[in-house]
Amino acid sequence: MEDRIYEKYFRQHRLPHIWCPGCGNGIVMKAIVEAVEKQKLNRDNTVIVSGIGCSSRASGYMDFDTLHTAHGRAIPFATGIKLANPKLNVIVITGDGDCTAIGGNHFIHGARRNVDLTVVLFNNSIYGMTGGQASPMTPVHKKATTAPYGSVDRPFDACHLAEAAGAAYVARSTAFHVQHLTDMIAGGIARDGFSFIEAVVQCPTAYGRKNKMADPAQMMMWMRDNAVMKAAWDKLPTDKRDEKFPIGVFYQHEFTEYGKAYNEVIEMAQGGKK
């Protein structure tokens, strides 16, 4: 068998990973390392930071300098790393609960500051690790242990949230669209500023089983049939949108990166004296 480049980025002795059969997290983890390879990042200068959740366990399988932090706090840890050593490429792995519930404030303020991070949100629409409680991204009418009759809370669109809060790059893809997902992440890595990529993933165990989609392949077929490329989405009449959702790059903008702004302050404060 020919060597696979993605395999060199995994901690081989820790595989197979702990995720359930058919869990989409493994697919997104591979897309991240493929994007790292695509952007030719130096592994010794690349740090993976994750919060808490099934998705956040990815950092334990990735052969980089990695940091598995506290629930909702991956972005603050990553901000500290980037400011302490701006040469580093910092990639954040988070979940829909981690990023938009307990970590919601860190998320919007990370975007507002525009620190040069690449944040990949694994959106499985549920708290997977703790057994299936509804998250702020659980769609209306979908079931969770905390919403046995279906959720009535309106979900966040994390991409809209990131854009409104000031992110420099906002994109979405799915575990079905592996190559597209890799491109979306690579685009985020390339951008100097706060990049946000939502990866729609299947959680057959905590979400699928409660919502008549226990089969992981069926969940991926749902992604195939409902994800619409942005250009086509923009032309799609509202009454035809139904369960469909857009994927692609939604927003890109050049803002002053936080570290650079901060360096100017340091220079000013030192008054030119060394």
Binding site: P16, N25, P204, M221
Partner: protein, 67 residues
């Protein structure tokens, strides 16, 4: 056979994603609940199985044409 398929069965969790997305019905879940190759000659080396396997348990190499 256009390809050689390799399985790392110790990683396979039998999720069936590769089976569902294979356009040529090359793969099936065996009695032990793992992926097995049942129709190797039909494989067109499209790589769909490897692309979406969440456990990095299946690999497809295109066969090099002998000159």
């Amino acid at each position: 056979m256009k390809a050689e398929i390799f399985l790392k069965s110790e990683r396979c969790k039998g999720c069936g994603i590769c089976v569902a997305f294979c356009p040529k019905k090359v793969l099936a879940i065996d009695a032990l609940g793992r992926c097995s190759i049942v129709n190797p000659d039909e494989c067109i080396a499209c790589g769909q199985c490897e692309l979406r396997c969440p456990d990095y348990a299946i690999f497809v190499d295109k066969k090099k044409v002998a000159k």
